[in-house]
Symmetry: C2
Subunit: 132 residues, 2 copies
C-alpha cells in the first residue's frame, strides 16, 4: 500500500531515531494510523467490525519495555511517551520498513496489547537499525 | 490491502443499503478508517504528516447532498448521519468495492472536504448498486 500511494514523498529527512520519536507531526498521523491497525486487529479477533482507540498507558508501557524510553528526555510525561510510539510506528510504515500487513499481524498475536505493542516497537527498531 | 488481509471474513451478510448505514459496529470501525484516509489525504496536500479527525458536520452534509439522507429514518440527528457515512465508507472498503487508494484519491481532489465526501459517497453507492 505504501509503495502505491507514495506516502514517503512528504517525509523529511530524519537524522536520528530520537528525532523521529519526538516529531509532533509524525505523532499526529501516527495516532490515527495506530488506532486504525489496532481496530482492524481487534475486529479480526472479535469477528465483527470494531473501532477502538489505543490507551496511552499501553503505548507508554510498551515504550518502557521495548527499551526506547532511554532514548527520550528524562522529564517526559506519559502522553509524550505514547506520542513517541505512534510517531515511530507510522514512520516505519511510511518508510516501508514495517508494512501495514506485518503490523496488523503482530498486533493480532496474543491477548495482551502491551506485549503486542512492545514486540512491534522492538521489531521496528531492529528493522530501522541500519537506516537511522 | 483488503484482499491480502481478508477483512471481509468478519463481515456479516447485509440485506440492504439501509442496514449498512445504520450498523453501529460498522460505524465504529468506519470512524477510525475515515479519519485515517482523511489524514493521509491531508498529509499529501500539506506535504507533511498530519493527523486530523473529520468533522461530523461535514459527513452529515455529504450524506444530505449525496441523496443518502432519504434512506435514513426521518428523526435522526447529525451524529447518526455522520455514522451512516462512516459505516458505508468502511463497508465499501471491506467489500472491495472502493479500495483504500481510490478513496484516498477522491478525498485528495479539490479543496472542499464536503464536496469530496459527497463525491465519495455517490461513487460508493454507484459501485455497490448491483450488490445491495
Amino acid at each position: 500500500m505504501a509503495a502505491k500511494i507514495k506516502v514517503s514523498r512528504f517525509l523529511k529527512r530524519y537524522e536520528s531515531l530520537q528525532e523521529v520519536l519526538l516529531d509532533k507531526d509524525l505523532a499526529g498521523l501516527g495516532d490515527i494510523y495506530v488506532n486504525f491497525v489496532h481496530s482492524l486487529a481487534l475486529s479480526q479477533k472479535l469477528q465483527r467490525p470494531k473501532g477502538a482507540k489505543v490507551n496511552n498507558r499501553i503505548l507508554a508501557e510498551a515504550v518502557k519495555r521495548s527499551g526506547l524510553r532511554k532514548m527520550l528526555p528524562r522529564r517526559i510525561d506519559r502522553h509524550a511517551q505514547g506520542n513517541a510510539a505512534e510517531a515511530l510506528i507510522v514512520y516505519a510504515w511510511i518508510q516501508e520498513a514495517m508494512s501495514f500487513e506485518d503490523c496488523l499481524k503482530i498486533l493480532g498475536e496474543g491477548d495482551d496489547p502491551t506485549d503486542a505493542f512492545t514486540q512491534l516497537l522492538q521489531e521496528i527498531e531492529k528493522r530501522l537499525g541500519a537506516t537511522l
